[in-house]
């Protein structure tokens, strides 16, 4: 049975609007969990749009993968964001002017493509997309396929090397010099500490720490409860941007 074109159109607009609305909600909520799951909802709506464009496999695989990936995004957001549940209000938007300009530019560019490009006037001839994909992977694109495997392996090794704090030889901090906080200082010149400060050992985390103190300090210093003004919010927003 082919579905009624009107129903498909209605569904297309509904899910299209929903994907934009949920995408917008990502920036309107204080809670990192909600933000992650709104983003997931936005992707799911895009997945349904793919389905409506007769791309069953791509749609389902997008949904399947986004579920796992947004769960991971949620845990990383919760790990590294201050105030992850939004118990105190905050602003997820920062650098308003640049954001607005970038948004408008992107919209104009994409809309321009939409207006200028020559689209087929009817949907693609129905064909088993999954099979076509498989044949492509086993045929001309075999090298791409295997290269992708190698790239994934490189990604795995890099991720482990960068993120893991220990290895087969024990703790990564043992016998290592803490990277200097001051860019002018050379690591080798740093005084040898009997027990390297693990906390400082993580350059990335030091950045996090710095911004955290900034956020807290602003409040604690009582720089005016009116410190929750535009600039204050913007500053915190930037912290979030860097955190992610």
């Amino acid at each position: 049975m082919t579905s009624s074109p009107l129903l498909v159109d209605i569904a297309f607009w509904f899910f299209g609007v929903m994907s934009v609305v949920t995408g917008w909600l990502v920036f309107r909520t204080d809670s990192m969990v909600r933000a992650s799951f709104f983003l997931l909802a936005s992707f799911l709506n895009v997945g349904v749009l793919l389905l409506l464009m007769r791309s069953e496999y791509l749609s389902l695989i997008l949904i399947l993968m986004m579920a796992g990936e947004m769960a991971i995004m949620a845990i990383f957001m919760l790990m590294f964001m201050m105030n992850p549940a939004g118990l105190n209000p905050m602003n997820m938007v920062h650098q308003h002017r640049a954001a607005v300009a970038g948004g408008i530019a992107a919209f104009v560019a994409l809309a321009g493509i939409g207006l200028v490009a020559r689209f087929p006037d009817r949907p693609a001839r129905p064909q088993p997309v999954t099979e076509a994909l498989g044949k492509e992977l086993l045929g001309d694109s075999m090298l791409v396929f295997e290269s992708a495997g190698t790239a994934l392996l490189a990604t795995m090794v890099a991720a482990i090397a960068l993120a893991s704090s220990r290895g087969r030889y024990g703790s990564a901090y043992e016998g290592s010099d803490a990277p200097p906080l001051d860019p002018d200082t050379r690591t080798a010149d740093a005084p040898a500490e009997p027990e390297p400060d693990e906390h400082e050992g993580h350059a990335g985390m030091e950045g996090m720490a710095g911004m955290d103190h900034g956020g807290d300090g602003g409040g604690d210093g009582g720089e005016g409860m009116a410190g929750m003004d535009h600039s204050g919010m913007d500053h915190r927003g930037m912290d979030h941007g860097r955190g992610s």
Partner: protein, 445 residues
């Protein structure tokens, strides 16, 4: 309207009155065999959180420090709720509870607590008895509303007391150097897997125990309620008139004690039904149970993979094990046992059972082996007796420095492992957390 049909006495509630009774057990000092009796009753389901319970069963003596936590646990049970308090018969204990908790049903050590629980549950669901009102006053934890310009709790991103509580702060991590938030939560005294009366202030870094302190809520004083139940594991020491003590009674009590411990441990590992079987066995072990226990041991090792999941968890060996003494030391290969020096025990061919690894697995192996050995000794003992100096307590005595011992054992462990460690050691906690062991601490075994 569905809402009215769901009220006590309505059709739904009448149907629900036949359900297995969800019970939350709050063990006070000297809880005796209350929990094992409930675990061994098929009409009752012992649950892990008061939110899922309808009946709160309080067992034994609740010192003043634990009164407020008890009231809070009571309030956390959703209505309809009802309380059954099982107490020892000491000095007007029943009347004191009836005066302080007029809504509760109070039973003595001789009453059938499971039947009382089922009856009370049916009464409240059939609308013949009112659901209990909250015991604590309705007071918000802290004032917070309208502090900031957005109506938030405090200042900045993480400051202030939004919704009445501050947010967690950061600390350097013990394990991987990522300094994220740490959360200090006081666990206990009524956490199901915890030893009676233990309160641990656990600082969590994620799900890992960052630091732990022991809080003492057990100080005796005015306002305590209930009396300890006669605890068969400690019977032999409690009664000075019964000197010297008969070995068979002593060893049967030891077997009961270890089996009750095992029933609770099995529940912790999700084996509720098997825990029920062990609790039934613990009620009155007979010599024929020796074969059952051996069989149980084999099955726990293999089919139920309890050996696999407990191996290497909470290792306590060497000096640390010596500091604990008792079962924990023997599970680590130290043959410390007061019974070794007793001629009466030597005549029975007693030699202390020991295990080597001192981990969670060897601790349950140890307890199970001691339970089996106790039954064998009881069968052989005849009317042999033993003097006070050579009585080995069944329970794990708390070391002088309980906080330090637990700190060493738990710090850096994942919470599930940490809890399994505490539950498998199961120390007898007493006021002052272990300066000296007063006699009444044994009664709380």
């Amino acid at each position: 309207m569905v809402v009215s049909r769901g009220r006590p006495g309505g059709p739904l509630a009448r149907l629900a009155a036949g359900a297995e009774v969800p019970v939350f057990v709050a063990r006070g000092l000297g809880a005796g065999d209350t929990e094992a009796r409930l675990l061994g009753t098929s009409a009752v389901r012992v649950v892990a959180s008061p939110r899922q319970a309808t009946v709160l069963v309080v067992a034994g003596h609740v010192p003043p420090g634990m009164a407020e936590p008890l009231a809070r646990v009571h309030d956390q049970i959703p209505p309809p709720r009802v309380t059954v308090w099982r107490t020892g018969a000491g000095a007007g204990a029943l009347d004191a509870i009836r005066a302080a908790w007029p809504q509760a049903t109070v039973v003595g050590p001789g009453d059938d607590v499971a039947a009382t629980v089922v009856h009370a549950y049916r009464e409240v669901l059939l609308g013949r008895r009112p659901t209990e009102q909250p015991r604590l006053a309705d007071v918000e934890p802290a004032e917070w509303r309208g502090v900031g310009p957005y109506g938030q709790g405090g200042s900045g991103m993480t400051g202030g007391v939004p919704y009445g509580r501050p947010m967690a702060g950061r600390a350097d991590d013990l394990r991987d150097g990522l300094s994220l938030d740490v959360v200090r939560v006081r666990m206990g005294p009524f956490l199901p897997a915890f030893p009676t009366g233990l309160v641990l202030a656990v600082t969590f870094a994620g799900d890992v125990v960052h630091a732990v302190e022991v809080d003492d809520l057990l100080t005796p004083g005015d306002g305590g309620l209930g009396a300890p139940l006669p605890d068969d594991a400690a019977d032999s020491r409690g009664d000075p008139a019964a000197r010297p003590v008969r070995i068979d009674g002593l060893e049967r009590a030891r077997c009961r004690h270890h089996l009750r411990w095992l029933a609770r441990l099995l529940r912790l590992y999700g084996l509720e039904a098997l825990g029920r079987r062990v609790a039934l066995m613990a009620a009155a072990p007979v010599p024929e149970d020796i074969a059952h226990l051996r069989n149980l041991h084999r099955r726990l090792e293999r089919a139920w993979v309890l050996g696999r999941v407990t191996a290497g968890v909470g290792v306590v060996t060497g000096d640390a094990a010596a500091q604990w003494g008792g079962v924990t030391a023997r599970a680590a290969g130290l043959a410390v046992d007061a019974r070794s020096g007793s001629p009466a025990y030597q005549a029975l061919g007693f030699a202390p059972v020991t295990h080597e690894a001192g981990d969670g697995r060897d601790r349950w192996r140890q307890r199970l082996a001691e339970a089996t050995q106790a039954l064998e000794l009881a069968g052989r003992a005849g009317d042999a007796t033993v003097d006070d100096d050579h009585i080995e307590p069944a329970g794990q005595p708390a070391p002088a420095d309980l906080a330090g011992a637990l700190g060493t054992a738990l710090t850096g462990q994942e919470w599930g492992d940490a809890l399994a460690t505490v539950a498998s050691i199961d120390p007898v906690v007493h006021p002052g957390a272990g300066a000296d062991r007063p006699a009444r601490a044994e009664a709380a075994a």
